[in-house]
Symmetry: C2
Subunit: 393 residues, 2 copies
């Protein structure tokens, strides 16, 4: 429960049931800055993208945000001109209620692709959200973002800028359709530090690449992925950029919040009950290491083997072999945690039981040494159980 967490200074939030989902389940959230905040955003690379993503991209040109308003239950993706009108109306109605420009409102939707937004419920929801927005409503807000998530996801960090206390509070949702480039995930990062917009954008991009873009659940990318960062400066210090003395303090706080949220998403992978870290080292290049790590992390045969508590290292050899990374079979070493399974491309002398012990854990690492160069990469993933299939039926 995140009931003890307060928003950064000058931010309020809310999460309510607007009637989009059945049975009174929370389905709309608001994050509101009392003053205009610098805004940064990173979005899905899918060629098919949701109307709210298109609206966010356009509004980001403006670079200033007052609020993020979102709904769960309906994705407003593949909804054509009508969907674009609905996303714009969602922003315009929120702007009118707050008293700001529509470009200062960022809108997000997540849920089923295809249906149109129930705009009447959304508009009446916006009013309720504004009425109930508080600095303490972190738990409600995170709950309203959930779809197949089993738990809300919030992470925080505190840091000092010129001796003044500042903080970050970040939210995320996402439990399936997760692959490179942040499929079906939303994350909102708020801070009361003041950050210049280009610096905020580049810091966010960097943090996302090392966190949300390093996780893989099922290899599917989504139409709605959005990470937004709002920095409102309410902590009362001079605007930061890369040349500021305390830039590193902000940057590492941002990275730690994004990383923590990304790890929460993998831990909450649809139907998953094991968290697996895939480390590849000594690849020809970092890019090669990432290709090999992603091939291992995305393989259904690896994910099902982990679910069955089978240390089936042959499937790992197979995956790196068909990845586009340079692999010389005879040079490959593979460790399950610290237990060596493969030496020079062949079975090591280790007892099978010792490997079973490792994959019986709920959290373990596959460590792969390609002995080709000094490239390295890590990808975080989970197992695939029968429950994954049931959830996605």
């Amino acid at each position: 429960m995140y009931t003890e967490i307060h928003m950064p200074k000058g931010f309020k939030c809310a999460g309510i049931a607007a009637g989009i989902k059945p049975a009174g389940v929370k389905d709309m959230a608001l994050i509101l800055s009392e003053t205009p905040a610098s805004a940064a955003g990173v979005f899905t690379t899918n060629q098919v993208c949701a109307a709210p993503v298109k609206v966010c991209r356009a509004h980001l040109e403006h670079g200033v945000a007052r609020a993020i308003v979102m709904n769960s239950g309906v994705a407003n993706a593949c909804t054509g001109a009508e969907g674009m009108v609905a996303a714009k109306d969602m922003a315009a109605e929120t702007a009118k209620a707050i008293g700001c420009e529509p470009q200062e409102i960022f809108v997000c939707s997540t849920g089923k692709i295809g249906p149109q937004l129930p705009l009447d419920k959304i508009i009446s929801g916006v009013g309720t959200l504004l009425d109930s927005a508080r600095g303490e409503s972190v738990q409600d807000t995170a709950e309203a973002m959930m779809t197949t998530d089993t738990r809300p996801k919030v992470a925080t960090a505190e840091f000092q800028i010129e001796g003044v206390a500042a903080k970050i509070v970040g939210f995320a949702k996402g439990a399936g359709m997760i692959e490179p480039n942040m499929a079906t995930m939303l994350s909102y990062i708020t801070t009361d530090a003041a950050v210049r917009r280009p610096a905020l954008q580049s810091a966010l991009k960097k943090a996302v690449d090392q966190s949300f873009n390093r996780i893989s659940i099922d290899g599917d990318q989504s139409t709605n992925d959005t990470v937004l960062a709002l920095a409102n400066g309410a902590a009362g210090v001079e605007p930061l950029d890369e040349n500021s003395t305390d830039w590193k303090a902000f940057e590492s706080a941002l990275e730690s919040v994004c990383f923590e949220l990304a790890m929460m998403i993998v831990h909450d992978g649809e139907g998953a009950d094991k968290f697996v870290t895939v480390n590849v080292k000594n690849a020809a290049t970092d890019a090669d290491a990432e290709l090999a790590a992603r091939a291992v992390a995305n393989s259904m045969l690896n994910k099902t083997a982990w679910a069955g508590t089978h240390p089936d290292w042959g499937r790992i050899m197979d995956s790196i072999g068909y990845s586009k990374a340079k692999v010389v079979e005879e040079k490959v070493d593979i460790f399950y945690d610290a237990v060596q399974a493969v030496a020079g491309g062949c079975r090591s002398g280790v007892a099978h039981e010792d490997l079973i012990k490792v994959v019986s854990q709920t959290d373990f690492a596959i460590n792969i040494d390609l002995r080709q160069g000094d490239g390295a990469a890590t990808v975080y993933t989970c197992n695939c159980t029968e429950a994954y299939v049931r959830i996605n039926y």
Copy 2:
């Protein structure tokens, strides 16, 4: 049952239990030509490949084959120098027993990656295979090739060369780890037509590209994929090549056998109970069409939706969007069989029940029109059920 099928003239075959698998299950097969046959082969593109694949590639340089000897249960992959010695010994012992050069023997293994071949069982199995080889042992041979297959796979075609009757008998195995480039599948094509080696090789490559390379079960590629074609000329006609009058008759017989075997593999997909044809047309190029079709066919979210009898066309839009094919959302039309689900990137007016009727069938097509050009491609796939996960635990 394939008990009525006879091998082409001059071929014998056998399938026996050599004790590699437990409980007397058949685990070794032989295909024997009474005279030297032209040989062609297509192999896995995985950088990690099994010892028998390396041996086959080397022997194919010689271009003449007397026999294929194979075992199931152990893949002889990731077995290092010891595995190479075993694969070569398997060929040498067979050659000695037949009385031919080792290069005229092709060896294959399929099953678990990692363990070494039980060479004593293999060698004694070769003797039993030769003793029991008959023109009528097609069923036994196909059974001995099986791993997670639920049924043996054989296809035949008859054709005329210069008025003389000739035939093809083809065998295949493979039920999981199937993706582009023929993962964990083996296929042996035998014909009593005489075919010049370069023509046989190019015809086989072309047939494989349109059959085994168009199927997808789980997106994993294997270390052991092998398709071999043997043409022994026992039908008694002049050797064929692309310039022969009856070349087309041979070529289409070969293509029909490969296609039929490939369809059997998808129908026998691990845990699958629905066969899905993904057609993409009017893509910018044929290559683009293939990228889009493969993205749809490989998506776990599509495969689980089909298993759940959900016409979730939003996931199809999502898949083509993240494929590398050029997609303009507003131009996409999607049909389930002949029922239009998506018109111009949005939901069509069709009743949801009509789409459910289509995905309730055990065999249906997803027809995608990208309206970008005149490229087209088809990929054959299956659904993903909880049974897939259980099989691969």
